[in-house]
Amino acid sequence: MSGKTSKAQSATVIDWPAAIHRALKLQRVRQVSYVPDAGHKRLIELCHADKDMAVVPLTTEEEGIGLAAGAWLGGERAALLMQSSGVGNCVNALTLASNCGFPLLIVVTMRGEWGEFNPWQIPMGQATADVLRLGGVRTLRLERAEDALATVTAAAKLAFDGYGAVAVLIGQRMIGTKSFEDKP
């Protein structure tokens, strides 16, 4: 299920991907890399449509850690979008954040924690927060759409003003649970 606001629901559903995009803009994020997730579909589209952002699709999530470090060396801020299953791919590269103090802002859509239909998503989803913590990444939870702007802004400040790695974990309950009945 995407984060898209349907016409029927537009009066009550908050466009949280647009709020995250706005937070990234306000925090001067110029490079956005991602391995796609259905939950990030709209945010990815918003970033691609934004002429002030260089958007870099990746083959694996850890590429985004190196990209963000290179961006910072060159004077730009980067953000990395991924699904929780990608967090484990990043672990060794996180030494860039711990050793060098490279700012790193990760926005993770969670799987395997709320009504998950695919059992293969559950082990990494359940381990995501602990894996990040062990890798030296601070985590903030985003559980309510109306908090998207504030939470991503807070995370960006922690990362860029605090010279560290910060991940926002967007709850699967908020994104909506995917099933094979959902058409893309």
Binding site: R30, L67, G70, A71, W72, G74
Partner: protein, 197 residues
């Protein structure tokens, strides 16, 4: 195929001599020692870890600094660990990025075990298939001058797999403190404001 004959330290020295505005990311291990042997420089960022990340750091830097040339110098083992980054770079097509792989066909820091390139894996062909503007294997001294010209002036993304002798050389180590390496690079590139931005 005959054994590689090129001297990795001479290649790197030739690339970094009169380096001008060049920004350099050096992959962990021998490539970082080679760059340091050519002269420790604030605008060279030597990696001591994060194996497989050198090319992606180069891409982030190249995107942030489109007016500067960016060179990634790394080894075949490091490149093999980040092979997907060639697809990422090829699809993005940064014109100011060049990658030079010093290919001794060995994991030089861990006992000289053979890498996949010793068994015929052609990294330049991979880069070419990924859409690099130019990608080739360099085997002879006569190719070094054109290599240098391409790295400094050619339209990227560029990829050169330089076949070098698998010889253990004296260690010439760069500073090890990552935060220091980061600060000195940013200050040299961005000025004093780098510390407060």
């Amino acid at each position: 195929m005959s054994a590689p004959q090129l001297d990795r330290r001479k290649i790197v020295a030739a690339l970094l001599d009169r380096r001008g505005e060049l920004l350099v990311v050096a992959g962990l291990g021998s490539a970082a020692w080679d760059c340091t042997a050519a002269g420790d420089h604030p605008l060279t960022f030597p990696l001591w870890g994060a194996m497989g990340s050198a090319c992606m750091m180069g891409l982030g830097l190249a995107l942030a600094q489109p007016g500067r040339r960016v060179l990634v110098v790394t080894g075949d083992g490091e490149m093999l660990m980040g092979l997907g980054s060639l697809a990422t770079i090829g699809s993005h097509g940064p014109r100011n990025l060049a990658v030079v792989v010093l290919d001794n066909e060995r994991y030089g820091e861990t006992g000289m075990q053979k890498t996949h390139t010793a068994h015929g894996v052609d990294l330049a062909a991979v880069a070419r298939a990924c859409g690099f503007a130019d990608a080739r294997i360099v085997r002879s001294n006569s190719e070094i001058a054109p290599l240098r010209a391409a790295v400094h002036r050619g339209r990227g993304p560029l990829f050169y797999q330089v076949k070098v002798r698998p010889k253990t050389l004296p260690l010439v180590l760069p500073p090890r403190d990552g935060a220091y390496l980061k600060h000195r690079f940013r200050e040299a590139l961005l000025g004093k404001k780098a510390a407060t931005d």
